[in-house]
Symmetry: C2
Subunit: 268 residues, 2 copies
Amino acid sequence: MPPHRVPGQGGRRFHPSASKGDEATVLTIAKFYVSTEELNRGQVVLKGQQHHHLSRVLRIRRGRVVTVMDGKGLVGLGKVSVIDSKQAIVTIEEVWRADPEFPRLHLYQALTRMKKMDIAVQNAAEIGAVSLTPFGCTRSSPLEALDGAKMGRLRRIAMEASRLSGRPYLMEVREPLPWDGLLDDLARMNIAVYADEESGDRPSSVLDDDSFDDIGLLVGPEGGFADAERDSLAIRGVRAVTLGKTIFRTETAGLVLLAAVKCHYHRL
Amino acid sequence: MPPHRVPGQGGRRFHPSASKGDEATVLTIAKFYVSTEELNRGQVVLKGQQHHHLSRVLRIRRGRVVTVMDGKGLVGLGKVSVIDSKQAIVTIEEVWRADPEFPRLHLYQALTRMKKMDIAVQNAAEIGAVSLTPFGCTRSSPLEALDGAKMGRLRRIAMEASRLSGRPYLMEVREPLPWDGLLDDLARMNIAVYADEESGDRPSSVLDDDSFDDIGLLVGPEGGFADAERDSLAIRGVRAVTLGKTIFRTETAGLVLLAAVKCHYHRL
């Protein structure tokens, strides 16, 4: 299994100003998401936005190596064999399966203003959450506010952030859950915790077992969970964790909680 | 020394939707920065933007308890004794010194687009950096781009983020440093590391000593440090650390690096 990253080229972001005669011009292997079928077929066609990004933004020419991923762990390295004004064809030269992400971190985010949801989704996708699920509770925004168009927007943000971060696994933005649905869903997790501003143990003391596969991480609404909600969570063994004395914005709290958990499992 | 946070009231952010007849109306202790002199005098006057925030945004009335901080660790709890259309007077009832932040984390951020600098400053202030210093290098934005008005903007963002996070210590946004100035400045640190996308040890293996007081954390430009710059850093003992396989945006990399270091010192 080849390494996730090709040595010496790395996954650095493309930086326009770095190409102007710098002694070490930065080479980025651009990454694109494609279907599993295309990837297995050995040839993928990039159209629309991905074609635009490849040809106009990155100005990639024929012969350049790019990475294509199916978002489910399958990764291919290939060369741009054809490029015209409508599409680019990538001929795959090598395909491998990336190591599964472990532990699988599922972020549950109380629905808040879309501007904050955008950032929460981008942050979670970037640091490596497997999924983000918006949920409703007493002090969240009403779930009706999250229509299909907005879900589409969050999913595009997740894909773009996952892509730019070079993640072989695309973060899923799941359908929003009402409070009861959330409680049911948490039963699928090996362990679940919620970030609390008032009390709680440090994440590292709650996560003392190394065998957790699916970890649920909850970020409540800006006003905090209602007392009855705290009780419901406690009954189901969902424990409060503290992120220290600092109060985080709701869109950053998930990122910091994810970082703390990854750090605990030596993934950061 | 009273606790940093008054039990049962916490430092939750004010959430407008939480006040509409909810069984547990969220009480926030609003926080304001004032001068050390005022704080010691026992009476502080809030004017301008802080008065607007107190009276219009939070709609705080006479008699409400607020927290005032000098941004250097001195914290006071007081009551709004007078409030009119121009100012609010807070009579301090109790003053204490918050525990010093340890270790002292200094973020050095290669200058990038202002939109990203805004986020980097907000993130760093929120998670608890002591200072953020923009610096110039081969692939950064030119330091001339950072004029007085822009520095003022970054400092306002730092203050607002520090305030909302309830930090008794205000993050300092220091004057930008050219490359040589950066190298000199790093000599003040007990240890310094930079986030690298290509290689490096995990932060926890580099930071194995528990006695570091001042830790310098460098986030390079989006194209990465030039080879000569890497060499300069290596000669000065500034080591590369990796944040795992994921590639972070430059404005998030600092936050994640700060989180990893705080986590290592059990501060997260």
